[in-house]
């Protein structure tokens, strides 16, 4: 079963932390201190639209909380790897556990190989 960010919680905390300050001001603050985020993106989050991963991480940093706060246990970003692989997968929505495990290994190994070859070429 697919799971995702708890957007309701994120939306509520963003709104609460913002208070009466306009979104444009918040966007400016995040963009200055952390990384570029637009006011329209923040507005969409407050309306319950799930942001992309980069925006999600920036907003969490601005809120001063860990990303785990808004993810359920199966969605947690890996913390024991030096970097996060983001992949696109064309597959059935429901996969059996063995296939999920195999796909995970396949993507990781392909990524490691790409990284290794890139290091050798430099």
């Amino acid at each position: 079963m697919a799971s995702s960010i708890n957007i309701r919680k994120l939306s509520e905390e963003l709104r609460a932390h913002r208070g009466n300050r306009p979104l444009r001001e918040i966007a400016g603050e995040i963009s200055t201190k952390i990384g570029k985020v637009s006011a329209s993106t923040l507005s969409r989050i407050e309306q319950g639209k799930i942001p992309d991963l980069d925006t999600f991480v920036k907003v969490c940093k601005w809120l001063g909380v860990d990303t785990d706060r808004f993810l359920d246990s199966s969605s947690r970003l890996p913390t024991n790897t030096p970097e996060v692989i983001e992949a696109h997968l064309r597959a059935d929505k429901i996969l059996n556990p063995e296939t999920i495990s195999a796909l995970s290994e396949m993507i990781r190994l392909a990524y490691s190989d790409a990284k290794g070859r890139a290091s050798m070429e430099k």
Partner: protein
């Protein structure tokens, strides 16, 4: 789909062939187009250190549940495709991934599957619809279909020439209206 995307896609299918020094209606393997666009295509069995258990699971036991996985590294777009599928399906799957790249789609919807510890992004419905359209155009350009329709070629023969399935040929014939165009011309 975005306004004008269908027309853009038909033109794109001819443009990529021209850029490769081919006739605009020439058959084109997805792997050759990928090479032209510097997209790396990988089969699971060629990934170093991959276990036989993993290969058995993905290419035999449960080979119908997935088509492709892609990611970017160091500016390079990499696609791992399900090499156990029929050749025509592989062509279609690869053209679909290439279509996302040519359309400059960025998967932004975050989702995850229970048990997979890699953040997954997905394309939205409009992007998927566009990739389906463009992928089919890339595989069988309209001008090629028109050429074949004038010669009363059967779907199976067209499919063989363009590395496609007969169902894809039928789909393209229906959505392009080439048969109607040929009938009008002849009368």
């Amino acid at each position: 789909m975005r306004k004008g995307f269908k027309k853009w896609s038909e033109q794109k299918s001819e443009d990529v062939r021209r850029d490769m020094g081919l006739q605009r209606y020439a058959p084109l393997h997805a792997a050759d187009l990928a090479k032209q666009l510097k997209i790396q295509i990988i089969s699971p069995q060629h990934i170093p250190n991959i276990s036989q258990t993993t290969l058995n699971q993905l290419l035999f036991k449960d080979n119908s549940s997935w088509s492709a996985a892609s990611f970017q590294f160091d500016g390079q777009f990499i696609v791992i495709h399900n090499s156990s599928h029929a050749p025509s399906r592989i062509e279609s799957d690869l053209m679909h991934e290439i279509a996302h790249k040519l359309s400059d789609h960025r998967p932004t919807k975050i989702h995850s599957l229970d048990g997979i510890d890699i953040p997954l992004r997905s394309y939205d419905d409009e992007q998927e619809e566009e990739a389906k359209w463009l992928g089919a155009c890339l595989q069988i350009p309209r001008c090629a279909l028109l050429y074949c329709a004038y010669r009363a070629m059967e779907n199976e023969e067209i499919a063989r020439i363009y590395f496609a399935s007969p169902s894809l040929v039928l789909y393209r014939r229906n959505v392009t209206g080439v048969d109607l165009q040929v009938r009008r011309t002849k009368f």
